[in-house]
Assembly symmetry: C2
Homo-oligomer: 407 residues x 2
């Protein structure tokens, strides 16, 4: 016994690492840190709520939860407008808003400066024969000037745009944009999937008629439910006809006597989990949460730039929830190598594929995650031989954190 | 101290129950036994899978899970046809099948003998101006004779019907029905939401072109994802035009190079949980599982009839997964009182409201749940003063169990 122990120690001491041994931890997909711009990592409390026993979708206690969720979303959007819940992804809510109101002959103006505003344009073209696009370079913001130009001498029934372009990391300046949109009098359909719950949204003040959002990004819930918040003007458009163009997503199905109704089976576990996520938003306080997201955005941008990398977003219009970083021709390799370190960045979409990586800094992303993301990015760039200033990313982020006086 | 103890015991011994005290356990909604025909109670293993860390919907490990789920569903349906996953309820899959293929001018024949076949009819009318209904009394089956009559001297592009009518507890005899449908040559769209995974389904043998199912019933998963399985004929109809009538639910979005694609955010936690539920189906064995469901159906029907209650379903066409029991004018009271005992039955839908209750016996329902359901029903009928043979329900069920030689 004692001899065996001595032999073991002796052997252990003399053991050398085989040259091909891999002593690194292998991260599997259950252990990836999601720094994607949605779906986001769920807080353990939200995961726990997700696995509560399944509720029947017509029981009062579930309806209470659903009402809490929809009313909270209106509240986080700065309005008392009616929020309608949809079982489906954010695209389902986009489709719902458009197909419930737009007719084949409706005149629609679609502002396109990224993949999600392009999707609004594509959905509009699917349901109307009369859609005018206004294209802007991906990475640039839609401004009040753009809206003015697009509306000059023209009349539209509907206008579509996104608030925060998840594909480019651009935050459109809604104060000036909506002021110009509303001069035209069109019904506005706005995608707030990566702003509602984590950035300032003012549906009433901005005068947005249909605000779209989804569970899995800035609200901190699991993916699979989405929402449309309808103004009185939007509701009056809807009441004018007895049907839209999409049976399953027709908001008329989901409203009964001015209140939310549950016409079809609902993804009850997702709603219960989202309820917990929203409760956590209120515990943190919306203002605090918005300021946290702004700080994290600032830190990620400062870190990327200190590493000598270039941002895609036009200066002054950077998103607070997602940052797009230019990595020409090597973006997919960076994403792939990041997984070796247990971190998942997102690549570019559509024409930005292979050109950028995107770092989501929403929901449970705090200082720890930003530092992790920047230092892993540094390691990955080194591994791949991509020129950058090593060691400077986290330093710049730390400077942002300390100047904000956190901790 | 000792004195206090003696006083306590003395007081305790003398304590009498106040006449208004409620010593019964109050069941909350998290502790309800769901005997509804979906959503069903989830097995603890499935609940655990549901709360795994969120997967990113474009990662390989998630795509592997999704492929396992869609291929298994085809397999459970007796086919190798392509199964397309939809983030949405069963109604979304109904809409997807219809709106992806049916045109405004298409001739559609809809068989209606309950609320879900009526929904297929309503969706068909939403997308086509040329829909012929064939109405049958709710509670009766659609037979080969019905199909013959409906198709006489007429030609249709599409036929819609349900396999198992969840609203009435009727199982349509698909062998004879589909034989007649296929003589007409129309593309068939069939709802298998309460059969696939728990009853015999033979998509290839029956020649079904679009088979619809959903996660939360006979497959044993959480609610929120649904599926359409498409035959080569259905795919060729789809390939003939470049779009359907519903953007979000167009199956063209979900197929790329003959394989399943993930165009939009997917409800990844629901898919991961469903994967576990389907793994459990294979562990039990599909044949075993079907036989179990048949036995549970038999036991519930025998129990209800022994209590002197009447079934809604026509004799010989009773569903193996849900039983509708006539409770004239008192159905909603029975459902409501059942909750006092911690059991949730479902009421009737549409024109059957207040006329029937429905007991779901699918997925995790075994002998224990059937005995619980029948004895609680007995107690509830007694509470409400509804005439019935008390004590006979469970006895009849036990007889079924022992004649089947279980345990």
């Amino acid at each position: 016994m004692i001899l065996a122990f001595i032999l073991f120690v002796f052997k252990g001491r003399k053991a050398k690492l085989a040259p091909d041994a891999n002593i690194k931890l292998k991260y599997d997909d259950d252990d990836l840190l999601l720094l994607t711009p949605g779906p986001v990592k769920l807080h353990p409390r939200v995961l726990k709520a997700l696995s509560s026993p399944v509720r029947y979708h017509r029981e009062k206690s579930f309806i209470d939860s659903l009402n809490f969720v929809t009313k909270s979303i209106s509240n986080l959007e700065g309005t008392n407008n009616l929020t309608v819940p949809i079982t489906g992804s954010g695209t389902a809510a986009m489709d719902s808003a458009i197909s419930s109101m737009v007719k084949r002959e409706s005149k629609v103006l679609s502002f396109v400066n990224g993949a999600f505003s392009e999707r609004l344009y594509n959905i509009s073209r699917y349901y109307s024969d009369n859609v005018t696009p206004y294209f802007k370079e991906w990475g640039k913001a839609i401004t009040g000037e753009d809206v003015k130009k697009a509306l000059e001498d023209k009349e539209f029934d509907f206008v579509t745009l996104v608030h925060n372009e998840t594909s480019t990391g651009v935050l459109n300046p809604m104060d000036e944009v909506m002021q110009e949109v509303n001069k035209g009098g069109a019904i506005s359909i706005v995608d707030g999937v990566t702003s509602v719950g984590s950035d300032r949204v003012e549906v009433d003040r901005w005068g947005i008629d249909a605000m779209i959002t989804a569970s899995q990004k800035c609200l901190g819930g699991p993916p699979g439910v989405s929402f449309v918040t309808l103004s009185k003007r939007a509701l009056s458009v809807i009441e004018k006809s007895d049907r839209g163009q999409n049976y399953y997503l027709d908001v008329r199905n989901y409203i009964k006597g001015g209140k939310v109704d549950v016409p079809f089976t609902t993804a009850t576990p997702l709603v219960i989990a989202l309820q917990e996520a929203i409760a956590m938003i209120y515990e943190e306080g919306l203002d605090n949460r918005i300021n946290r997201h702004r700080l994290m955005g600032k830190a990620v941008r400062a870190g990327a730039q200190a590493m000598g990398l270039e941002l895609l977003a036009e200066r002054g219009h950077e998103s607070n929830t997602v940052t797009a970083i230019k990595i020409p021709d090597k973006a997919e390799s960076v994403v792939s190598q990041g997984k070796r370190y247990g971190v998942l960045f997102a690549g570019g979409q559509g024409k930005l594929t292979e050109k950028i990586i995107r770092i989501g800094h929403m929901n449970t992303v705090g200082e720890r995650e930003v530092l992790t993301g920047l230092s892993v990015l540094d390691a990955v760039l080194t591994d791949l031989g991509i020129a950058h200033e090593t060691g400077k990313g986290t330093l710049a982020a730390l400077k942002e954190f300390s100047s904000a006086g956190s901790n």
